[in-house]
């Protein structure tokens, strides 16, 4: 909430990130600190929290109370679900998916990570890498998050020691050497969430306004510096064009004769009037006649936009189909392999029918083989015949009708799916096509 002149055209975009850490590593404190120092928290919210803090016997403000939303969590003093937080600076708007670190909540972490451009992995300087950190690194890499900050917290409790920090950095590098982590995407930052070092400010001020200079040996950016500058374009507009058709808009009145437009959000690439398109799975072809909108027709649409296309010819296309450009078609597959994270108390069974939702498509699916289950601590592959809550595995699937699939590593939207249990209606798995 920094003052920007209201009539200035913004070129602020959105960065979505998650924070993960083990219990007590200081995740809530870090988020509270970021919200507080960037003025993303209001006085009345702070007042409510200050009241509760003093009830719990805290001096000053317990920042973690700002982020623990549900009464049950406040009572038990733990975070049990994904919560979303918002703040902005003159450079960016930020959406934080705040997810808990306990093992039983891996599914929440997967949920938060699924839309993230960046993950902050939090470590306690006194403890270094824990079992949970291994898990967090694995899940982040599985979900293809493109950027990381490894924040080594509570540096104040280890005398702001450079040696401690460097040891943890090298341990982390060893750990992820087994994963396909690009270390160039990782920034290591020593912080004190409690005192504020290297979060928003390099040297936070104490109550008397004196800046508290610690860790002068660290020359790198603060957490906020990284958040504000990391590139999130992910070159999604330079990938092949994909438009999953969500809905067909039809009008036939005085003004619009036989109007029929295919509506959806462009998953990747760009499309222009006149472009030839192929509808999958049918293979029917036509050209873009208009890209129509409330604000008038456009010549071009890009990844991320929700649009409606009219085509030159009457081709048979409807919800669940995908419009793409000829020569750039994704493969149509009835059998494929995917990494999945199982999210239900009821175990995953082979040859049982599930409903699979991929883009705007819902089809019946069965798992035909569990290729392996991944031990999320040792990263070893094990054989398995069923999967339990929070298991991660590679599974072979068969679906009833062909799907236009991309590899998840190529396209997070056209390469991801969920599984739904037909009895409970619950979302039971997150899937990433390989």
């Amino acid at each position: 909430m920094v003052v920007v002149s209201a009539d200035k055209k913004t070129d602020i975009d959105i960065l979505r990130f998650t924070t993960v850490g083990s219990v007590d590593d200081g995740k809530s404190t870090l988020i509270g600190r970021m919200l507080y120092d960037s003025k993303g928290v209001f006085e009345d919210q702070l007042a409510a929290v200050a009241k509760t803090s003093s009830k719990k016997g805290f001096n000053g403000i317990d920042f973690s109370l700002l982020t623990d939303g549900l009464a049950a969590e406040r009572e038990q003093g733990i975070t049990i679900d994904v919560a979303y937080r918002y703040f902005s600076t003159p450079k960016r708007k930020f959406i934080i998916a705040d997810t808990p670190g306990h093992e039983q909540y891996t599914r929440n972490m997967v949920t938060g990570a699924s839309t993230a451009h960046l993950t902050i992995i939090l470590l306690d300087a006194r403890k270094g890498i824990l079992d949970q950190s291994r898990r967090h690194a694995l899940i982040s890499s599985l979900l293809g998050i493109p950027n990381f900050i490894v924040a080594v917290n509570k540096m104040d409790l280890v005398d702001y020691s450079k040696e401690v920090f460097e040891k943890i950095v090298s341990d982390f590098k060893d750990l992820v050497s087994k994963l396909n982590f690009n270390l160039e995407q990782v920034k290591f930052i020593p912080i004190s969430a409690l005192n504020g070092h290297n979060v928003v400010y390099k040297y936070p001020c104490d109550q008397d306004g004196n800046s508290d200079e610690q860790m002068t040996w660290y020359q790198g950016p603060t957490i906020l510096d990284v958040l504000e500058t990391v590139d999130v374009q992910r070159s999604i507009t330079h990938k092949p064009f994909r438009l999953p058709v969500q809905y067909v808009i039809r009008v036939d009145n005085g003004q619009y004769k036989d109007f029929r437009a295919f509506a959806g959000q462009v998953a990747s690439g760009i499309v222009a009037v006149g472009d030839e398109l192929v509808s999958l799975p049918s293979g029917a072809r036509s050209r873009v006649k208009t890209i129509s909108s409330f604000d008038g027709d456009q010549d071009l649409a890009s990844a991320g936009q929700s649009i409606a296309l009219q085509l030159e010819d009457e081709i048979d296309t409807s919800r669940g189909d995908m419009l793409v450009k000829p020569g750039q078609e994704p493969e149509l597959k009835k059998e494929f392999k995917a990494n999945i994270c199982w999210m239900s108390e009821q175990s995953f069974e082979l040859n049982k029918k599930y409903l699979l939702k991929h883009t705007s498509n819902k089809v019946k699916a069965i798992g035909t083989a569990i290729d392996f289950r991944l031990d999320i601590n040792s990263y070893e592959k094990h054989s398995a015949s069923s999967l339990k809550l929070n298991d991660i595995a590679q599974v072979s699937f068969k679906v009833l009708k062909p799907l236009a699939l991309d590899h998840y590593s190529e396209n997070h939207i056209t390469g991801s799916f969920i599984l739904i249990d037909e009895i409970s209606n619950n979302t039971v798995a997150a899937g990433m096509v390989i």
Partner: protein
Amino acid sequence: MQTLEPTKLDHLRQLEAESIHIMREVVAEFKNPVMLYSVGKDSSVMVHLARKAFFPAPLPFPFMHIDTGYKFPEMYEFRDQFCASIGARLIVHRNETAIADNMNPFKYGTDKCCGALKTGALLSGIAKYGFDAAFGGARREEEKSRAKERVYSVRDEFGQWDPKNQRPELWNLYNSQINEGESIRVFPLSNWTEIDIWEYIKLENIPIVPIYYAVERDVVIRNGIIIPVSNEQEYLKPKEGEQVLKMKCRFRSLGCMPCTGAVPSEVTDLDGIIQEAKLARKSERENRVIDLGSDSSMEQKKKEGYF
């Protein structure tokens, strides 16, 4: 051939695209959706996005206004004019029994009053028309328990929310499967903040109720909240011993007259509102009498079926 540069979307266009995507999903996957239209700024934005989502077709769902009878006269006037001007089908639904029994916040307290006139009316309205999906303009930023709300929020037959049993929501894949009798609340504005809303209203020139702008009003200070008073209605009269002041003020969020406080302000245009929102040190719900009950009062209401 000309080379075309991809459009870089700023935060408002990113939010717009996400909201439109959500609305189209719901309309494609549910039989009988409705938009809960509450006349305020968030509803104004939500309606605008819906018009974009289905353009040039007419809106594929009706609006339902849950009317407590205590709304500001300017809100009723705006509602009727606005809905007529865009050709929306408007259902006004009220808990007539409770209104006939003179339900009010003074005698019964805000919890009971909201329970009957808002939650009760909402649930009976959804049941009466058989709606299976209801769009609401709530935003996660507004309140702590809303921060955990999904975009698709499944409600049981009694409209209740079970915060511990929410479905995971991944990527932009929403799970629309529900059982007979269940319904969902959908929050297409989940990721918008108050400032986003105002910036978008300005960018898109969206009509809003005029009481968001400051005028001089007769007010009293009641429990630290600035409450407008008038002699027109019995319940708007100042109470014994209350001193009536003239104050230039406006509303940051709109609710029922007895329970909505004003904020002192000189602002008469959108730039001013945006500037105030950016400088605000208090959340926009600071002036809602209903939320101040306790730290968990919103969560409790939501569990009971409130949106």
